[in-house]
């Protein structure tokens, strides 16, 4: 496995001119290992598709460089790059059959029809399209079209596979099964992949690493577990999963680096903090709804009042007022748990491991 198989160095893309300048991608740097699947995740307009289009060669970066397998491809035209793209709307050639679509690339590269057909058969078996070779793309279901698009890219044996929101046109159920399939396929072939999506669940379930973007700037890079449990800022915490934010102040910093905060007269010690905090700094406590435990009221604990109860079948959601701030608490398996009534005063237990502290951000 090669380190830095794909490298983006300080990529910048500015659209427009004069007064209407939009910086779509702002100094983005990223190293991807061989065989790794990295997801670019962010809300629409965050620049993720633009990054993908720069890697594929359809957009030229305003500044920065792109390396694939140590080779500088920044100004290589798209048809000469060792990348293959799966388009959001599949972009299947409507005037060609499924197999014609798939052997299009090999034929362009001068391979004989026989070799191309053989390869196509293999790829079609790989994605489960064996019997559909002679169909026209318009006679396929969304999922099948998706497979054709994938097969058409895979047959090129590209060094980097690019996927631009490939599942966004499918219905919810198909989306879940297709994403598992894509992940399995990617691991089996061992192909380095960049996957663009705005669906955080998709990103979490697929990726080796996730790159979270906002306004063209990278917010955090990490494994799905890292970005979920240790988000770098409130945007990431809020974008990945649900999060409660409680404002607080640093009471003290112990010599071993733990941070003591005060929450409703209860001292909490947080062992590990990503960004340095000093005494009296304002900070934000990030609490995942599922990590909070509610109990019958006990003395010397953090207390709150139940304000709202929503039963969702597989879980119970409580809105609890803690220190005058609403906090969402989710309890799974509600039948087995203790139940509470609206207006009831309760105690709150916060497992140390799930506590995460962020410095208060100044509004930019």
């Amino acid at each position: 496995m090669k380190e830095d198989f794909l490298e983006l160095k300080e990529l910048v893309k500015i659209f427009g001119g004069g007064k209407d300048i939009v910086t779509a991608v702002d100094h983005v740097s990223l190293k991807v290992q061989e065989g790794e699947l990295v997801t670019l995740l962010g809300p629409s307009g965050c620049g993720k598709t633009t990054i993908l289009r720069m890697v594929s060669g359809f957009e030229l970066p305003t500044a920065g460089k792109i390396f694939i397998d140590k080779e500088d491809v920044t100004s290589t035209p798209p048809n000469k790059r060792p990348t293959a793209m799966v388009f959001q709307n599949y972009a299947l050639f409507p005037h060609m059959t499924v197999s014609e679509n798939i052997i299009y690339g090999p034929k362009i590269h001068g391979e004989s029809s026989q070799v191309a057909r053989k390869k196509a058969e293999e790829v079609m078996r790989l994605v489960g399209l064996e019997k559909l070779g002679n169909r026209s793309p318009s006679h396929l279901s969304g999922g099948q079209q998706q497979r054709v698009s994938l097969a058409r890219s895979l047959i090129m044996e590209p060094k980097v596979l690019l996927l631009d929101e490939p599942l966004s046109n499918l219905d919810a159920k198909l989306r879940v099964s297709m994403r598992l399939e894509i992940r399995k396929l990617q691991q089996r072939v061992g192909i380095t992949s960049i996957y663009v999506t705005h669906d955080q669940e998709e990103a979490m379930s697929l990726s080796d690493r996730v790159v979270i973007l906002k306004d063209g700037i990278i917010q955090q890079i990490g494994t799905p577990l890292e970005v979920y449990s240790r988000p770098d800022n409130c945007f990431v915490a809020d974008f990945i999963g649900k999060a409660n934010f409680l404002e607080t102040t640093v009471e003290d910093v112990t010599p071993d680096g733990s941070i003591i905060i005060n929450l409703l007269d209860q001292k909490l010690s947080i062992p590990e903090v990503k960004k340095p905090l000093k005494k009296n700094d304002k900070a934000i406590l990030v609490l995942r709804p599922e990590s909070i435990i509610l109990e019958k009221k006990k003395p010397d604990t953090i207390t709150g009042v139940i304000r709202e109860i929503v039963f969702l079948g597989n879980q119970m959601t409580y809105i609890v007022e803690i220190a005058k701030q609403p906090v969402t608490v989710e309890m799974s398996n509600p039948q087995e748990c203790e139940s509470f009534k609206r207006g009831e005063e309760i105690s709150i237990k916060l497992p140390i491991k799930s506590l995460h502290l962020l410095p208060m951000e100044e509004e930019k």
């Binding site: 798209p78 293959a84 362009i108």
Partner: protein
């Protein structure tokens, strides 16, 4: 089988019941059918009848005569040859422009677009007039061209092909621009991503996907070229074509049966091309198969691809500018090719001689255009949104005038309306009405087409919601549908006005001493070699059209939807 029949009967009675519940709608439908039969079908029927039923009995002697003598059949082949050349060159020109505008970073796109499509808002034969001023016997470029290619004459096939290509390539451009714009750029990107060079992308993706559009464009230009009357009248010389021959038979020889027969020969290929285009080629389109476009296009083209495309655009725009510039310049000359002193006398004389023509053109077009627009939108509403017996027939008939050359319609109108009939109990020939009616029914397909296009984009649920809330058809149409399709209505209006003001081929048969039009007058001046005066009149005509388009644009802005001028002209 029996079940099927019952179901059909059930459906028909169901439709009848619906109609019964909306008697006003039913009356409207009856009215429209009456007008369509009287002013579209009946005249064409008259042409057919007059070519085979002469002096009270069946008589095929005209067909026999035409098919047995080379001299008589020659115009048929001439027209077809002309159509093929013009369609091919016009489609190539239109394609290059459409490609340059949709797929490259050509600078000044707006300028090129307006220049290339400008001929659409002027009477087509103005191009022929310019060709004579430039390359005719006393043409400015004639000595220079002669020194290169030797002796030549602009009058004939090559001159005709040149002017018709300029006059009708905008048609091809509009069709192909729409087609190329609708091809999802991600298809071309996918091809490039898979390793295809520009040439490969073009030959394996762009061209195959555009092929149905190219065929459509070719057939439409072919029809226009075959049906063209003004240009051949001015510049065909000894190259005899059907439209002019039919006209001469009728106005020169008063031989209505022979003229009708020639008109039939003209109708045959144009109608074939039309139905080929409408029912076969347009069905082959791939354009709608793909999903939503990403809006991105291939822009990073190599210089050796850009250079020829850009050069072709510049050259072609230059030719168009040269032709129209010549008309402007010519309109200020004392006597073209003899006395180049600049003068305003052409305009002064033009107003003295031509003010009646001008007034009549504007008046009759202004009456016809709104009627065309309203009836056109109403018919498109009926066709798309209402179920009634004869709906398919209504669509077919209302589109028919598109397929029928103006010459055929013009002859049909004199045959049909120079006497009282059961359908039309007054004689229309010689009145202003016959001109107005002809303008209305000639231009109606444009209004219907834009109406249909607009309606198909509106979710029927919006109208159903109105009905559900208690509105009848009439109210729903006025309060809901009409405001939503207003932009299409105005663009139909604009195009209708342009077509009415520039009409010549059918109109020339129905004008009279009392009611004459400016296009006919210009053609007359050209015929008498009063080129400067004709040029001045043409300039005034173009200015009036531009002013009218500006006024309609203002109206559109008032309505609120920002439809640009360029979209209006389409």
């Amino acid at each position: 089988m029996n079940n099927n029949r019952n179901r059909q009967i059930h459906e028909i009675t169901g439709q009848l019941k619906l109609i019964w519940k909306e008697p006003i709608l039913f009356l409207f439908i009856l009215f429209i059918f009456y007008f369509l039969f009287t002013f579209v079908v009946f005249p064409i029927f008259q042409v057919i009848k007059n070519s085979v039923y002469i002096g009270g009995r069946w008589d095929f002697s005209n067909y026999v005569a035409i098919f047995s003598k080379r001299y008589f059949i020659q115009p048929f082949f001439n027209s077809i040859v002309l159509g093929i050349y013009t369609a091919t060159l016009g489609t190539i020109a239109g394609f290059v422009f459409a490609y340059a505008l949709t797929r490259t970073t050509l600078p000044f796109k707006k300028f090129f677009r307006i220049t290339a499509t400008f001929p659409i808002i002027s009477p087509p034969f103005i191009v022929a007039l310019a060709a004579i001023l430039l390359f005719g016997r006393a043409g400015s470029f004639t000595p220079w061209v002669k020194s290169i290619i030797g002796d030549y004459s602009i009058y004939g096939l090559s001159g005709l092909v040149l002017v018709e290509t300029i006059a009708y390539s905008p048609t091809a451009f509009f069709v192909l621009f729409g087609v190329l714009e609708a091809i999802d750029p991600s298809l071309e990107e996918a091809s490039m991503d898979l390793g295809a060079s520009w040439g490969k992308v073009f030959s394996t993706i762009t061209l195959p996907l555009a092929t149905p559009g190219i065929a459509s464009a070719w057939l439409l230009v072919f029809i226009q070229s075959m049906a063209d009357f003004g240009n051949p009248m001015v510049i065909s010389g000894n190259y005899r074509v059907l439209s002019v021959q039919a006209y001469l038979q009728i106005t020169g020889m008063y031989d209505l049966p022979r003229g009708s027969t020639l008109a039939m020969l003209l109708l045959l290929p144009t109608a074939t091309a039309f139905f080929l285009q409408k029912y076969w080629v347009s069905r082959k389109s791939y354009v709608t198969v793909t999903g939503k476009p990403t809006g991105a296009t291939i822009k990073n083209l190599e210089w050796y691809i850009k250079l020829p495309i850009y050069s072709a655009c510049i050259l072609y725009a230059g030719i168009v500018l040269l032709f129209y510039g010549t008309i402007v310049y010519g309109s200020f000359q004392t006597l073209w090719g003899v006395n180049p002193t600049l003068t305003l006398k052409n305009y002064v004389e033009m107003f003295e001689v031509g003010k009646d023509y001008l007034y009549h053109s504007v008046l009759l077009s202004s009456i016809a255009t709104p009627i065309t627009g309203i009836v056109g939108i109403f018919i498109s509403f009926l066709i798309i949104r209402k179920k009634f017996i004869g709906r398919g027939l209504m669509e077919f008939i209302s589109m028919l005038t598109f397929a029928v050359p103006g010459t055929v319609v013009g002859i049909g109108y004199i045959l049909a309306f120079n006497q009282k009939t059961a359908l039309m109990p007054v004689v229309l020939t010689g009145t202003a009405w016959i001109i107005i009616i002809l303008l209305i029914f000639r231009d109606m397909p444009v209004g219907i087409r834009s109406g249909i296009a607009a309606l198909q984009q509106i979710d029927p649920a919006i109208e159903e919601a109105s009905t559900d809330l208690g509105a009848d058809s009439n109210t729903t149409f006025r309060k809901i549908t009409l405001p939503m399709i207003a932009p299409a209505f105005f663009s139909g209006l604009a195009f209708g006005f342009v077509k009415a003001m520039t009409a010549i081929s059918a109109i020339i048969f129905v004008v009279s001493g009392r009611w004459n039009l400016i296009t006919v007058a210009i053609l007359g001046f050209v015929d008498n070699t009063q080129y400067a005066r004709a040029a001045a009149m043409s300039i005034i005509l173009i200015i009036i059209i531009l002013v009218a388009l500006g006024v309609i644009q203002l109206l559109v802005n008032r309505v609120g939807k920002g439809v640009r001028m360029t979209t209006i002209i389409e």
